[in-house]
């Protein structure tokens, strides 16, 4: 059984936000609008968090870190959900079942990476964007929590494709939209249980680290970076 994982090379990442846009389009994430954004209620499954790492001449040395859901092996969000709306699947993907979610937001509080977001209102798209919604992903109603899914609808699609071609799933068959869109090729996606996969190789690099490793959540998003890191701005 696969264990899906993402590697983000921060030394390659330029902070262009192509992943953010690709994610928004792929997963029917509604634009917040000015009033909601001012209230801090934007939804973004993939966000860029600014970190400061000392000074660069007279200016602060800023680094933007892409933060999707970590799909932890021991996800704290699952333990607090009173209705089992969020569960970890056989392949290590942490799923959110929207019709089950009662919107209590315990999970948004429990998540140390703050990647879970609440739908404060009914999603709306400016015309004619509504026609461009993906039929593979549901449109979340008001009052439920949502988060990055590692584009697991793409996994289903990939499985359908390989079963039609009568072959096993290979590396590159299933890749989330953010990884696919990265122009700097800073993101790699694959199976962490496959000893020959790129993610396994990169996860053993001396540059590899995970966010808030000390919490024991065992995140499956692995970052690569040479330098020392300052705090989040």
């Amino acid at each position: 059984m696969a264990r899906w994982s993402m590697v983000i090379d921060l030394d390659r990442c330029t902070g262009c936000q192509a992943c953010v846009v690709a994610c928004q389009v792929e997963n029917n994430v509604p634009p917040a609008g000015a009033d909601q954004a001012a209230a801090g209620r934007t939804i973004s499954w993939m966000r860029l968090a600014p970190f400061q790492n000392g000074e660069h001449g007279t200016r602060p040395d800023l680094k933007l870190v892409p933060i999707p859901c970590m799909h932890c092996d021991h996800p704290p969000c699952i333990k607090v959900c009173p209705v089992k709306a969020t569960q970890i699947g056989e392949e290590g993907l942490v799923a959110q079942v929207y019709p089950r979610c009662i919107g209590c937001r315990y999970c948004t509080t429990a998540c140390p990476y703050t990647v879970r977001q609440f739908n404060w209102r009914r999603p709306e798209w400016p015309q004619p964007m509504e026609r461009g919604l993906s039929p593979d992903v549901s449109v979340r109603p008001r009052g439920v929590v949502e988060k990055c899914s590692f584009c697991h609808h793409r996994l289903q699609r990939a499985k359908d494709k390989v079963s039609a071609e009568n072959r096993p799933l290979r590396e590159g068959d299933y890749v989330p939209a953010c990884v696919e869109s990265c122009p700097a090729e800073a993101m790699v996606f694959g199976d962490l249980d496959d000893p020959r996969s790129n993610v396994t190789r990169l996860s053993q690099s001396p540059r590899a680290f995970r966010l808030l490793e000390e919490l024991g959540t065992e995140p499956k998003v692995i970052y690569l970076s040479k330098g020392e890191w300052g705090g989040e701005v």
């Binding site: 019709p99 609808h153 289903q156």
Partner: protein
């Protein structure tokens, strides 16, 4: 002794002799009301489809038995897409017109169909099997990959002589039972996105 003390002493103390075993008239009313609520709520839930939903009316009373059993037509003749797509599809008048541009038998329904085709009327078939809207089901995956027969979910619809008038609602428990039996994934992400 002032007025308040007098009042106090006049109230008899509720001791262990107070009788609780008999509900009294108001108790009976409350119990009766609760029983009525429970019974009527149960009846409303179980019978809601029959009471509140009008029977489904199809444009033509299609005879599945005549087509599938007697004339040996495959399901894919009319439901074209179940081996290729997530949906199965309902036939356009063009599909019917292959055979029914002229009258084949002597049923009234067929005569009506022939006229509808000649007049260029659209056939607005109503779907009879319904899943919750947030479920992502794929006909292709179940028919082609898992090799399920249509009747596993659709029952004996192929041997009916007239379309059912009630919508069949497919429930998650039915999916889960089958997935457990066949030892396939019950991962949430398989159906819920």
């Amino acid at each position: 002794m002032n007025a308040r003390d007098e009042q106090k002493s006049a109230v008899p103390e509720a001791g262990p002799t107070h009788k609780w075993h008999h509900p009294g008239r108001w108790g009976a009313v409350i119990i009766g009301f609760l029983a009525f609520t429970v019974i009527s709520a149960t009846a409303a839930v179980t019978l809601q489809d029959r009471i509140f939903r009008r029977p489904v009316e199809q444009p033509i009373k299609f005879n599945h038995k005549l087509h599938v059993e007697d004339n040996q037509l495959g399901c894919s003749t009319c439901h074209e897409y179940y081996e290729k797509e997530t949906f199965s599809g309902l036939p356009d008048p063009d599909v019917c017109a292959f055979c029914h541009s002229e009258k084949q038998g002597d049923s009234e329904e067929e005569a009506r169909l022939v006229k509808m085709i000649a007049d260029g009327e659209a056939l607005e078939w109503k779907s009879l099997f319904r899943q919750p809207p947030h479920v992502f089901y794929s006909h292709r995956r179940h028919v082609l990959v898992a090799k399920l027969e249509c009747k596993t979910c659709h029952g004996d619809i192929a041997s009916t002589t007239a379309p059912p008038t009630r919508v069949t609602k497919l429930r998650m428990q039915d999916c889960i039972d089958c997935h457990h039996q066949k030892n396939v994934s019950t991962d949430c992400t398989t159906c819920h996105r």
